[in-house]
């Protein structure tokens, strides 16, 4: 039926979205392709090719990820006799467009007509597909080159098959669009006609591959391809985590311990059992904190529909033992963090003599910045469906790491990973929450215990109460200036409970990946720099949220730049450029124990202040930095390198007489190296501005008596359409030759809050150092 290699049942079975609707595409430049061929009088000019060795090859950290990279075309590509090309998407779609972008790279390189491409979602199987952990803004940067190699291999095999059929040297055949052509005779064979023969050939060695000259790309970099699920999304057919329905399925909602580390003492199911539709109430196993992604435990209500399960859960009477975090209180904890950053802490970077230079400085400017816990609240709350059959577990779930989920399922169920199938549905948002598979483990354990298919649905309240929260942090920066106003000393203390505390008990210092997000990698041209990380104990589950520690760090550093500008009576953009200094490669400080460069080799992904300067200059120009603004308006600027991309943002605010804040305009410049789908980069920047405004204006999760005080979108609000930035303009820096791809999903977020607060200062003279802003501007 299909060739190269049958994708296997896992890829094509199971989830709702693996139906024939997959791969439906609109706005494809299909007519353009045919038109192009016609304009050439029916001749199909083959793309010019470059040997792989001629390509600016670059090293990435992809190979160092668990299970590395697989570039076998037989794993990713199959061609049916009718010419339909099926390409596997092995990473998770949560809104970035990756399920479309990676297959599009393969299609472009192999010469496939996008209208005849279908996309199928891979199950979790990293031995087969390579790393699938969709996180860290890594997909394009790790897979642009491997996907091109897969496409080039497939094309080479098709060409070889054609040459053999025609008994001509392979050098005489070329690939057009979805067909192979013989130069001399003009004979041509479609991909479908060649698939069976091609599948019998050996896969060419990577060194022998010839890759397209980027000038010949038809899809990559054009921004003309819409996401593959677009029609299904607009018609309600797209399949998310809760859309899988199995015969005999039970609907489950769980009451979990309200305090992290707490446990259930006793429960009374009587009232819950009276709710129509409720079939059973039972205790479910929890693991002691911290336990990575293991379930919290509690009491499950099993019903014939989700509504009944929710109603039953609300009727439960449960006595909890709150455990060691029963006193966690955000007001008291904030004071602890602020005290911590006012005293010396663990030194994590030390260049020159910042202590001495601060003592002898002409002026010292001190800024203390606070950012509270944040919740992900993706529109789709955590949910998973599981089925246990004859010792085998199959799940359907919106997970960022289907491979990791499979391994955690095998470990938790104490079965072989070979007996675990993880089907990845579309994710209704992820932002890092769905990297943690606790909700899938809950469903799997219950499915086995009940020996029935189950769906565990988290309510919004469950999501807010039991998130893996963004940390809470205090950042204190002291900048020492000499008589001329030049910054000669910089001491940055950052205290925040660490993600490490979710994996290891009593972890109190941030781990390298957190320190490397805007603290120890601070690129300013300052002689004396000292960074410290005072202790901070965790009292809840700490996780990663889109752009992670870069949020508080960029907020502190980029606010401080504007504070220095104000103190010295200078333009904030000029001070920013002066601090960045001349275009150069900034080495990681020798004083840093474990430098973190987002897992990438510094040779291909150095800290390049030329690129950092460029996005500042570009966005300032595009935003009209310094232009005359109406009364009550102000502009602020900020820049941040994260996920090895460079992003600068200018925010324009308007503040009325009552102190009501609106954002008429946002301008963002991004340099993410080589890129695949600029239209989706633009949508990521638009979304980052909205999320950035939510963070800055209203985002706060707080604790009292160990319990999260918020529950839903009423008390944990996010920005709505009537308060969103009116316009976000995106400027994508064209990649210089040889610049490898970097990240786009996360790095738009960090510069937003400081640019906003700098704009507020420009408009009002009020400096916001504590987020969220909430009513701080009220007059």
């Amino acid at each position: 039926m299909t060739y190269f290699q049958n994708l296997g049942e896992q890829a094509s079975s199971g989830q709702t979205s693996s139906s024939p609707t997959l791969g439906r595409v609109e706005n494809v430049s299909r007519r353009g392709l045919f038109k192009g061929a016609t304009a050439l009088g029916g001749l199909v000019l083959a793309a010019s090719m470059l040997p792989r060795s001629a390509m600016a090859a670059y090293a990435t950290g992809a190979g160092a990820m668990p299970h590395g990279v697989v570039t076998d075309p037989r794993v990713f590509v199959s061609i049916a006799p009718d010419g339909i090309v099926t390409i596997v998407a092995h990473r998770s779609e949560m809104g970035t467009g990756v399920r479309t972008s990676l297959p599009m790279i393969v299609a472009d390189e192999m010469g496939a007509d996008w209208a005849r491409v279908r996309i199928v979602q891979a199950p979790g199987d990293e031995a087969k597909y390579g790393n699938q952990d969709t996180d860290g803004s890594r997909s394009t940067r790790h897979y642009l080159l491997p996907m091109r190699e897969i496409g080039a291999s497939a094309r080479t095999m098709l060409e070889t098959a054609a040459a053999q059929r025609w008994k001509v040297p392979v050098s005489e055949v070329k690939t057009g669009v979805h067909e192979v052509v013989h130069d001399g005779s003009g004979r041509r064979l479609g991909f479908g006609e060649l698939a069976a023969d091609a599948s019998k050939l050996t896969v060419p060695a990577a060194e022998t591959l010839r890759l397209k000259d980027p000038k010949e790309f038809r899809l990559i970099g054009k921004g003309a391809v819409s996401i593959t699920d677009l029609r299904d999304i607009t018609t309600g057919k797209a399949g998310y985590g809760a859309d899988v329905r199995l015969p005999g399925m039970k609907y489950v909602v769980i009451a979990r311990p309200p305090v992290t580390g707490g446990k259930m003492v006793s429960f009374d199911p009587a009232e819950a059992m009276k709710v129509p539709g409720v079939e059973r109430v039972m205790e479910v196993r929890g693991w002691p904190w911290p336990s990575k992604f293991q379930p919290l435990g509690g009491v499950a209500v099993i019903a014939s529909n989700t509504g009944s399960a929710i109603k039953g859960r609300n009727a439960l009477k449960i006595v909890w033992d709150d455990g060691a975090n029963a006193k966690y209180d955000s007001v008291a904890y904030r004071a602890e963090l602020e005290t911590a950053v006012r005293a010396p802490g663990l030194v994590v970077r030390n260049d020159g003599d910042a202590e001495g230079a601060l003592k002898t400085a002409d002026k010292v400017i001190v800024g203390e910045y606070y950012l509270p816990h944040l919740a992900h609240v993706s529109m789709e709350p955590p949910v998973a469906t599981a089925k246990w059959t004859n010792g085998k577990m199959e799940v359907w779930a919106p997970v960022q790491s289907p491979g990791g989920t499979r391994e955690d399922l095998a470990k938790t169920l104490e079965i072989s990973a070979d007996d675990v199938t993880v089907n990845t549905t579309l994710l209704g948002g992820g932002f890092g929450r769905k990297s943690k598979c606790d909700y899938v483990l809950e469903a799997a354990l219950l499915a086995r215990e009940l020996n029935a298919p189950v769906r565990v649905q988290w309510t919004r309240e469950d999501d807010v109460h039991h998130d893996y929260l963004h940390t809470v942090s205090a950042e204190r920066i002291e900048a020492g200036l000499d008589k001329s106003g030049k910054v000669v000393a910089w001491r940055h203390r950052s205290a925040a409970p660490t993600i490490g505390s979710t994996f290891v008990a009593d972890a109190k210092h941030q781990i390298p990946i957190e320190l490397g997000m805007g603290l120890i990698d601070m690129p300013f041209d300052i002689a004396n720099v000292r960074c410290e990380n005072p202790e901070a104990a965790a009292h809840t589950r700490i996780g990663w949220l889109r752009s992670v520690s870069n949020i508080p760090r960029a907020f502190a550093v980029q606010s401080m730049v504007a504070e220095i500008a104000h103190a010295t009576g200078r333009d904030p953009k000029d001070v920013l450029l002066e601090l960045i200094g001349p275009a150069r490669i900034v080495p990681f400080s020798a004083s840093v124990d474990k430098p973190w460069n987002y897992g990438e080799p510094v040779e291909s992904y150095p800290i390049d202040t030329g690129r950092l300067r460029h996005v500042v200059e570009l966005v300032a120009e595009k935003a009209g930095w310094g232009r005359k603004l109406p009364d009550g308006h102000g502009m602020g600027i900020a820049v941040h390198r994260s996920f090895v991309s460079y992003i600068a943002t200018v925010v324009e605010v308007a503040i009325d007489k009552k102190g009501v804040l609106t954002v008429p305009r946002v301008d963002t410049a991004i340099d993410c190296g080589q890129f695949v789908n600029p239209e989706r980069i633009q949508s990521q920047m638009e979304g980052a501005a909205v999320m950035g405004l939510s963070v800055a204006k209203m985002g706060e999760i707080s604790f009292k008596n160990g319990r999260v005080q918020q529950s839903n979108y009423d008390d944990y609000p996010v920005v709505r359409i009537d308060e969103a930035p009116r316009v976000t303009n995106t400027y994508i820096v064209p990649a210089a030759a040889g610049t490898p791809p970097s990240g786009a999903g996360e790095p738009g977020l960090p510069p937003f809050a400081p640019a906003l607060c700098n704009a507020i200062f420009a408009a009002t003279g009020k400096r916001i150092r504590n987020l969220p802003i909430r009513d701080q501007l009220a007059v």
Binding site: T235, T306, G428, I721
Partner: protein, 150 residues
């Protein structure tokens, strides 16, 4: 026995009359295009049309729609080509897509009430629907395109 017409088809329910319409649609009828986002009418992901107007199915008891006509995203247009759906595709509105059925149902209802809404009316009419990905700029533009063609 509660009878309700869903996307033109007669349906009935003899369970708990207080069951939210959302769960009847999703779990009993398998119409999964309507999404659960908050359960408290705060996010609009569950928006459907009841008797022609937008309603939050997560807080609408099935007994409240007895004898009425309910339209979900699956029934908005037989081919999925309602002007709002087309505008959504033309402008590549969705990111993750989870909220979009609710957004589209809300926008379709807004355009029935106000044929050619101002920017202000679009923003106010759509302010009950949250998009955590932040597609608002395109949502606003797409409602305008659906209304005016440009």
């Amino acid at each position: 026995m509660i009878k309700v017409k869903v996307n033109g088809q007669e349906r009935s329910w003899d369970g708990d009359p207080s069951l939210p319409l959302l769960w009847f649609l999703r779990d009993e009828l398998g119409l999964t295009g309507t999404k659960f986002g908050c359960g408290q009418a705060l996010c609009g992901a569950c928006t459907v049309h009841v008797a022609g107007g937008a309603a939050r199915s997560c807080i609408t008891a099935i007994s409240d729609v007895a004898g009425q006509e309910v339209v979900t995203i699956e029934g908005l247009h037989p081919q999925g080509d309602h002007p709002v759906q087309r505008a959504w595709r033309e402008l590549n509105v969705p990111q993750c897509g989870f909220c979009q059925a609710g957004q589209i149902m809300q926008a379709a209802s807004l355009l029935v009430e106000t044929k050619n809404p101002s920017d202000e009316e679009i923003r106010s009419g759509m302010s009950g629907n949250i998009c955590r990905c932040g597609c608002y700029q395109r949502i606003e533009a797409a409602v305008r395109v659906a209304a005016t063609g440009t």
